[in-house]
């Protein structure tokens, strides 16, 4: 295995919720520009690992070293501002992004007639695509995607994956999956 310069270093992570241990002695180094697939069963701790990296939770013991990185994320839930339209949802998290650029990016995954509808009126799959575009338009060092293709059909999954790989080229990309074979790209790390 080639030597990697770790940008994200997870060391002996322990994490429990209400006495139920989710992560036990988990360690991994994730390098600059690396694509990593975190795979494991439901409840194995994949989402917890992403939350630890994003700084949304602290480990019970062990360390998470992210060395001042900027993150972007697609959460397990869409987490969109329901009253705002797709364009606003993309621009609201990135100050420097114009509406015109956001529209052009959205066009890659979402029909134009959906761009100016409140996202609460979009279908589940359409909301997911907005969440993906929002994350990809945000300038970050690492992109953490938690089951990003939930609710998308196979064609759209393919299209979205191509878009994600194009936008994150040269950046760190971490995706969670249930099965090891789900993605043919990246280094696979088993969780749980």
């Amino acid at each position: 295995m080639p030597q990697i310069t770790a940008m994200i270093r997870l060391k002996n992570i322990e994490k429990s919720y209400d006495g139920h241990r989710v992560l036990s002695g988990f360690s991994a180094d994730i390098g600059d520009s690396e694509t990593v697939i975190l795979f494991g069963d439901s409840g194995a701790g994949k989402t917890t690992l992403l939350r630890l990296m994003l700084g949304l939770e602290k480990p019970d013991s062990g360390s998470v070293d992210i060395a001042g990185m900027n993150f972007s994320a697609v959460f397990q839930e869409d987490r969109l501002c329901a009253h705002a339209d797709a364009v606003e949802n993309v621009t609201v998290v990135t100050k420097t992004l114009s509406a015109a650029v956001a529209e052009a990016e959205l066009k890659r995954l979402l029909p134009e007639d959906r761009h100016h509808m409140p996202v609460s009126e979009l279908s589940g799959g359409e909301k997911r695509r907005v969440a993906i575009v929002r994350a990809m338009c945000h300038d970050a060092d690492a992109y953490l995607l938690d089951e990003p293709f939930t609710g998308l059909d196979e064609d759209m999954q393919q299209k979205a994956m191509e878009y994600i790989l194009e936008k994150t080229a040269g950046k760190t990309l971490i995706i969670t999956a249930h099965e090891e074979w789900q993605y043919d790209k990246g280094r696979k790390i088993a969780v749980g």
């Binding site: 949304l56 900027n70 994320a73 705002a84």
Partner: protein
């Protein structure tokens, strides 16, 4: 349309009950019917004192309501942001909520000018209602959206506009609905006790000492109409101005 007609019929039913009661009592010093009340209202409207009185009460009560809303909302934001501030301010609002309005009216009359009574009392009843509503709204703000804002490092202005404000909209409209009616009732009560000249409360009091029950009811109708109209206008403005949930 059917619903509106139903409501109108119910209104007519109650007006008919009012008329029946006045006929049964048959004493104009105790109660007059709706027609006598309307004619007293028209008479008052032509007297020259009516509109300035309504205008003065309206301005005082709305000013008090707005000041109370600002005090309640700012306190709620500070209590949400700084736990210690919440611990300090909470007993203050609990006390204001519990103390009878009439005690405040007397204290305000002792401490301040009687012309300020309606405004200060409206402010006093509005502030705790707004404080508790907005605080509850802030505390229940969607945690997932707040985490999203944290990850994307959204600035405070955008968090406020896109996350907090839409979330708080139903809490703000509920505050207006609860507090505005209370502000009107307590504001007019303060005027009745404090007797500032050319106010609705003063008109009500004069109706009472002259044993003019028709005038008392006419002023009451004026209060109800003004309260309903201003509350509707305020709610409309809030719903139009704020983004988010209905």
């Amino acid at each position: 349309m059917r619903n509106k007609l139903r409501k109108l019929l119910i209104l007519f039913l109650w007006i008919a009950v009012w008329q029946a009661v006045s006929v049964m009592v048959g004493n104009v010093f105790v109660i007059v019917g709706p027609w006598e009340t309307v004619s007293a209202l028209l008479r008052l409207m032509g007297s020259g004192n009516f509109f300035p009185s309504v205008g003065k009460s309206l301005v005082c009560i709305i000013c008090g309501f707005l000041a109370g809303s600002a005090l309640g909302a700012i306190s709620a934001v500070l209590a949400y942001r700084f736990r210690v501030f919440g611990e300090i301010i909470d007993p203050f609002f609990k006390t204001i909520k519990t103390v009878p309005v009439v005690s405040f009216i007397i204290l305000v009359l002792i401490w301040f000018n009687k012309d300020l009574t309606a405004s200060l009392i409206s402010m006093t009843v509005t502030a705790p209602a707004v404080y508790y509503n907005i605080k509850a709204g802030l505390e229940s703000t969607d945690k997932q959206l707040l985490e999203m804002a944290e990850v994307f490092r959204m600035d405070p202005g955008r968090r406020f506009t896109y996350i907090y404000l839409p979330w708080l909209k139903p809490f703000i409209t509920s505050s207006v609905q609860t507090a505005f009616g209370m502000a009107w009732k307590s504001g007019v009560a303060a005027e009745v006790i404090g007797q500032p000249l050319m106010t609705i409360g003063n008109g009500l009091y004069r109706g009472k000492i002259n044993l003019a029950t028709d005038e008392v009811l006419a002023w009451t109708v004026a209060i109800v109409v003004m309260s309903v109209i201003t509350e509707h206008m305020l709610l409309l403005a809030v719903r139009k101005a704020l983004p988010g949930r209905a």
